[in-house]
């Protein structure tokens, strides 16, 4: 069934201006799909965790399209093909990427952090309009997923909302890859509460106490007499790890504080915003880019002496807002050719798009 998929694909690549003959035969692909349960990458989509935007314009050369058209054209056999083609659907982008990375990198596969996915998509769309010879496909799924794919050589660029972990770097080196990281934008984590909450600001210490369960009532931090309901992203989110390390543990490496077991882990940003909107007891955190106007932002102070600062593009840039982080793109080794050009563009002209998506550009 792989062959059916692979051999028909060159026609698709012609659209991107690639010589079909230069493409390696898909049947000797690198066995990416061997035993990887094909539905794993798709599962988050079903449960609403990730934003897989592969069907968007950024993927105009993606393999997604011909799959259905071929099957339908073939009539009765089409149904059989449909079944066969959709089963390995999750493997397809990786398969195509595996030969794109090596030889002529016409399609730039870009995968990773859900925080970055909207921004990466916007960059891809604008860049492809200016450079019709380049195809960029953007997928979410989470920082861990993106980095794992980069280490396996299935994507050219991994989006990450945190540094690569030591184990990840070790795994990459074991694979003969030296990952190179670029800071492409900055993100601030906003603390959100229900608009009816009269509280204006919190210190990092108070936030830490709230999220570890030492403070359980809004009264203890100068609010109304209400219990505090803690909201968090799921533990596989990059935002979760960042918040834990920089807010709960306040950047102390030796600290072993954890989220209170009473913390509600919401499967999506949408889950957090719904609960914050409805519940006057709730406090949540999320990337500044995902905060909707119906949630109230809290000002945060580094300590009691420091001023309370509301998150905004300006305060993140001048470093006065204490919970901000860099966002990365990782490549396997120093990028060359089209990937290099793309990243250079992101670091230069692409920065103009960053504020439009609620993130913070590198230079004001």
């Amino acid at each position: 069934m792989q062959d059916v998929v692979g051999r028909s694909s060159p026609t698709q690549y012609l659209r991107c201006g690639v010589d079909a003959a230069s493409l390696p035969d898909a049947s000797n692909g690198q066995g990416m799909c061997d035993f990887k349960p094909f539905w794993f990458p798709m599962l988050p989509e079903y449960v609403g965790l990730s934003a897989n935007r592969c069907q968007g314009t950024a993927c105009s050369c993606g393999i997604c399209r011909w799959k259905t058209s071929t099957s339908i054209r073939k009539g009765v056999i089409g149904w059989v093909l449909l079944a066969l083609v959709f089963l390995p659907a999750a493997c397809e982008p990786e398969r195509s990427a595996s030969f794109n990375v090596g030889a002529a990198a016409q399609t730039i596969e870009n995968k990773g952090s859900d925080t970055l996915v909207n921004l990466a998509l916007a960059w891809a769309e604008v860049y492809m309009q200016a450079h019709p010879d380049v195809c960029i496909s953007v997928t979410g799924g989470g920082t861990g997923t993106g980095i794992a794919a980069m280490i396996n050589g299935t994507v050219s660029i991994a989006n990450a909302s945190r540094d690569m972990k030591k184990e990840e770097i070790a795994a990459a080196e074991a694979n003969g890859i030296k990952p190179v990281g670029f800071v492409v934008a900055r993100d601030a984590i906003a603390i959100v509460v229900n608009p009816s909450n009269p509280l204006q600001g919190l210190t990092l210490q108070q936030l830490s106490d709230i999220y570890t369960g030492r403070i359980t009532n809004w009264q203890q931090v100068g609010g109304e007499n209400r219990p505090i309901v803690l909201l968090s992203r799921e533990s596989n989110s990059g935002t979760y790890v960042y918040f834990l390390e920089n807010v709960i543990r306040m950047g102390k490496k030796e600290s072993d504080l954890l989220f209170s077991p009473d913390t509600l882990l919401m499967p999506s940003s949408e889950g957090i915003s719904t609960e914050v909107r409805q519940n006057p007891n709730a406090v949540g955190y999320d990337g500044l880019g995902y905060v909707t106007p119906d949630q109230k932002l809290l000002a945060v102070a580094k300590d009691l002496e420091s001023p309370y600062v509301l998150p905004s593009i300006q305060t993140v840039n001048d470093g006065s807002y204490p919970i901000a982080r860099p966002l990365y793109m990782y490549t396997a080794g120093e990028p060359t050719g089209k990937v290099r050009a793309y990243i250079d563009w992101i670091l230069g002209g692409g920065q103009a798009l960053v504020p439009k998506l609620g993130f913070v550009p590198l230079k004001p």
């Binding site: 794993f40 988050p44 449960v47 219990p227 077991p261 009473d262 509600l264 882990l265 719904t274 409805q278």
Partner: protein, 337 residues
């Protein structure tokens, strides 16, 4: 016999051809026909067809068991490593922070059990009452309307129910019951009860249906009212069927993922305090679904999730076993069904 065939001639031959055709189509051998068959090839063909069909059915039957076995083997292969990768004290501890190598499954197991049991406590009286009404009390026309309606309930996708629970049930629970948040065990149990109801009603109603009419007649003849007959005679007679209904409903509830994940709040706390019903909890199914998407294959966390799968499988198996043995026990003692 040969003389018999000679007398019939052409007509017999046509009949025989038709018979074998019918036999082939229906997969059944009309016994009398087979006995009057004298043509040896005809008999053997009938037998052969019968054998093939029987074999196919047997194969299909056994393959179901085979699939279950294979699934269980796969679960074991992926999940067993966790039991020696992580010390048991950690594995059955109270803290589930997989990102920090704390794999305490206790809150998840208790969370699942609490949500399921609460759901059944809510659904059982409602379901049995509805079944009694539909099968014993409702007039014919109402029954004709109610039965298909109940079956439609079973078809509502769980995501839709979860969405409904998140946006309507949870706020109501918070504002009316005064819980800090509406995303609680109770909200999940309500949604699950709603999902288990159609199963419980249909199965319990079937069980009530099979109680012989003579039982009711006898009850009424003894001077019992309709209510007394239902409560003291009909329902106890259908007890094993009702138990089956509850077990099936429970199976539906404990395995449900999507709605539970959206509604219970997913906080991995040990739900042993008195107010646990109105606090969030995290179930095994929701944990697997929420974390499987991004776990590195072959890592400890990955094995832990499959380990939870094993625990869930064993729990469901235990429930079914209890149900089966209860019914079996009753039958052996000369129960009604």
């Amino acid at each position: 016999m040969p003389t018999n065939q000679g007398k019939r001639g052409t007509f017999a031959r046509i009949t025989r051809a038709l018979t074998s055709l019918v036999t082939l189509c229906s997969g059944m051998t009309p016994l009398s026909e087979a006995m009057t068959q004298t043509d040896k090839s005809g008999v053997s063909r009938t037998r052969w067809v019968e054998f093939a069909i029987e074999g196919a059915i047997r194969l299909l039957g056994f393959s179901t068991i085979g699939f279950v076995l294979l699934i269980f083997l796969f679960l074991l292969r992926e999940g067993l490593p966790i039991f020696y990768e992580v010390p048991l004290g950690n594995l059955f501890g109270t803290r589930w922070y997989p990102t920090f190598d704390l794999f305490g499954t206790l809150p998840l197991i208790l969370g699942s059990i609490l949500v399921t049991v609460t759901a059944i406590v809510i659904a059982l009286p409602l379901g049995v009452a509805t079944a009694v009404f539909v099968s014993e009390i409702a007039p014919h026309w109402a029954r004709e309307v109610l039965k298909p309606m109940i079956e439609v309930l079973a078809g509502i996708p769980s995501v839709v129910l979860g969405f409904f629970g998140m946006h309507f049930v949870a706020p109501v629970i918070r504002s009316i019951l005064g819980a800090p948040t509406g995303l609680t065990v109770f909200a999940g149990a309500l949604i699950l009860a709603y999902m288990a109801l159609p199963t419980i009603i249909s199965v319990a109603e079937d069980a009530l249906d099979t109680v012989p009419k003579s039982y009711r007649d006898a009850g009424l003849a003894m001077g019992a009212t309709q209510w007394q007959t239902i409560w003291k005679v009909v329902v106890p007679a259908a007890r094993s069927g009702i138990l089956m209904a509850v077990m099936l409903g429970m199976g539906r509830a404990i395995g449900e993922t999507m709605a539970v994940m959206m509604v219970t709040g997913n906080a991995a706390r040990v739900p042993l305090s008195l107010d646990s019903l109105f606090r969030p909890a995290r179930t095994m199914t929701a944990t697997i679904a929420a974390e499987m998407g991004e776990v590195a294959q072959g890592s400890t966390h990955y094995h832990a999730l499959f380990g939870i799968g094993i625990i869930l499988f064993l729990l469901t198996f235990l429930i079914n076993l209890t149900a089966a043995s209860a019914i079996f026990h009753k039958r052996r003692r000369g129960g009604l069904r």
